[in-house]
């Protein structure tokens, strides 16, 4: 039986939540792409994960205090980002410290959620999110956060790129290093805060890393890679949504897998093109 034969009353809500889910995930993916390129270039995947884990603790604290989990996530994610910015390779590598902070947050978050018997919270909802439950308000929030992150990326692009290419040159010849770094971490925290509740800790980190990785073989300049990453992040949403609809699989993980499939496609295509060129 096709959708068209069902009554209009049923059709409209169905289309509405599908449209909101697709638009929300696509906007998040598009916003995560460019800043995710820096996460990839600077090998900071661990940092994104740890911020997301701390965000989970923030959600738990928010629920416990009876305030919006979004505020809890945002505050904790920013605190975590600034704390991790202080990490330097010392007795233990910076990556290990960052991972430890994140896992401490994750563990505390789970413990807090487990003790809250009055709040029936689905833990999986925070890991995979519940993209199908997006409200119009959520959409507005994602759109605003996404625009904020993309605008920040555009404004700090050159400073971040200099810093990425060589931090010593950037700091020796100009004097903008520290501030731009802090903004970078805060923007990731903002993205995580909005992404966590709606698409989950797993998906938001995947959206930071996988679309840039898929964009790499297509790009000869950093700017091209950012644009491709935004496009691939955005396209992963409808692809995953479609797979989820047809095969009745969880939506968040389907979006992640769609991005992975795009990564495989671009990587293999590049290898094929290189093989063709060298055989000529």
């Amino acid at each position: 039986m096709s959708i068209a034969t069902t009554t209009a009353m049923k059709v409209m809500p169905v289309y509405d939540f599908l449209w909101r889910a697709t638009a929300g995930a696509a906007m998040l993916g598009a916003a995560a792409g460019p800043i995710g390129c820096f996460v990839l270039w600077r090998r900071m995947a661990y940092l994104g994960e740890s911020i997301a884990h701390m965000g989970l603790l923030g959600a738990a604290i928010g629920l416990l205090m009876g305030i919006s989990p979004l505020i809890g996530v945002g505050v904790l994610a920013i605190v975590a980002a600034l704390l991790m910015a202080r990490a330097g390779d010392n007795l233990i590598p910076a990556g290990t410290f960052v991972g430890m902070v994140g896992h401490a947050g994750l563990a505390l978050g789970f413990i807090l959620l487990a003790t809250m018997e009055t709040v029936r919270t689905d833990l999986l909802g925070y890991l995979f999110g519940d993209v199908l439950a997006l409200s119009n308000q959520d959409l507005m929030g994602i759109a605003a956060a996404g625009l904020f992150v993309v605008a920040g990326c555009a404004f700090f692009w050159r400073a971040w790129l200099m810093q990425t290419v060589n931090g010593d040159i950037a700091r020796a010849e100009s004097r903008t290093g520290r501030f731009a770094d802090v903004v970078f971490l805060i923007l990731i925290a903002v993205l995580v805060a909005f992404g966590l509740r709606v698409v989950g800790a797993l998906l938001i980190v995947a959206l930071l890393i996988i679309p840039p990785a898929a964009a790499r073989p297509l790009s000869r300049t950093p700017e091209a890679m950012a644009l491709w990453a935004a496009l691939i992040g955005a396209v992963s949403a409808p692809l995953g949504m479609a797979a989820s609809w047809w095969k009745d699989i969880p939506t968040g993980p389907a979006i992640v897998l769609a991005a992975v499939v795009l990564f495989i496609v671009t990587t293999l295509s590049m290898k094929a093109v290189e093989a063709m060129r060298s055989s000529r």
Partner: protein, 244 residues
């Protein structure tokens, strides 16, 4: 050669730098003037890179550092890690720090205009050295700070690159501070040599420094003797050219 001292670009007084209770630099006095090439020499761990980084404000040092207001610096670091995950052409890399015209001119000046569309991550060591130098001069610096700019360059390329640095100095009139391990080449081009070992052991013109007892103590009498001979020979060949 110059009777009037040129404009002071950067100077340090009583400069110190400690890491974990160990003095890396102690009571250093250092200055660079417009148009001069100052070469820092010294054994491994003598604080050459640390002194450059202190002058650049990259490490927390004590003492006084005075810069000419608004001093434009071009820096070539000792290490330049590259990563395949970042797609970056030589041209885009250079334009990141200078406008298009200046970037292209600098690449042409360093003799690597043909590398403009090459990916940075795929360059050879010698090509990278030239790209880093081109990038550093693209911003029309008043002071070039070069930390072993010849790493990865073969012997033939080394002399050519040194010559290029001296030519660039003549063209844009910048001051140059240079760290190098290759004492022979260094001695040939430097206006002033500063011999470092945590503190300034000796400094002056190359022929003065090599005959200084502190120099012989630091590098051993054999190296000092060889270099003294080298500098001497070098002077003579120059005078010969001048008379022709």
């Amino acid at each position: 050669m110059l009777t009037m001292p040129n404009e002071l670009l950067i100077s340090a007084k009583h400069l110190g730098f400690r890491v974990g209770g160990r003095d890396i630099l102690k009571d250093i006095g250092f200055e660079v003037r417009k148009g001069e090439i100052v070469t820092l020499i010294g054994p491994n761990g003598s604080g050459k890179t640390s002194l450059l980084k202190a002058l650049l404000g990259l490490v927390p040092a004590t003492g006084e550092i005075a810069r000419k207001p608004g001093l434009r610096i071009g820096y070539v670091p000792q290490n330049f890690p590259r990563d395949m995950s970042l797609p970056l052409t030589v041209g885009r890399f250079t334009r990141l720090f200078a406008d298009r015209g200046a970037a292209d001119a600098a690449l042409a000046r360093a003799g690597i205009a043909t590398l403009r569309e090459s990916q940075i991550a795929r360059l050879s060591g010698g090509e990278l050295a030239r790209v880093l130098l081109a990038r550093a001069i693209a911003g029309h610096p008043e002071l070039l700070i070069l930390d072993e700019p010849l790493a990865g360059v073969d012997v033939a390329g080394e002399a050519a690159l040194y010559h290029l640095i001296a030519e660039i100095r003549d063209e844009i009139g910048c001051g140059v501070v240079l760290v190098s391990h290759d004492l022979h080449v260094v001695m040939a081009q430097a206006d002033r040599v500063v011999c470092l070992n945590g503190h300034v052991c000796c400094e002056g013109r190359a022929e003065q420094v090599v005959s200084d007892p502190a120099f012989a103590q630091l590098f051993g009498p054999r190296v000092a003797g060889e270099l003294a001979l080298y500098v001497h020979r070098h002077d003579h060949s120059h005078e010969g050219h001048a008379r022709v």
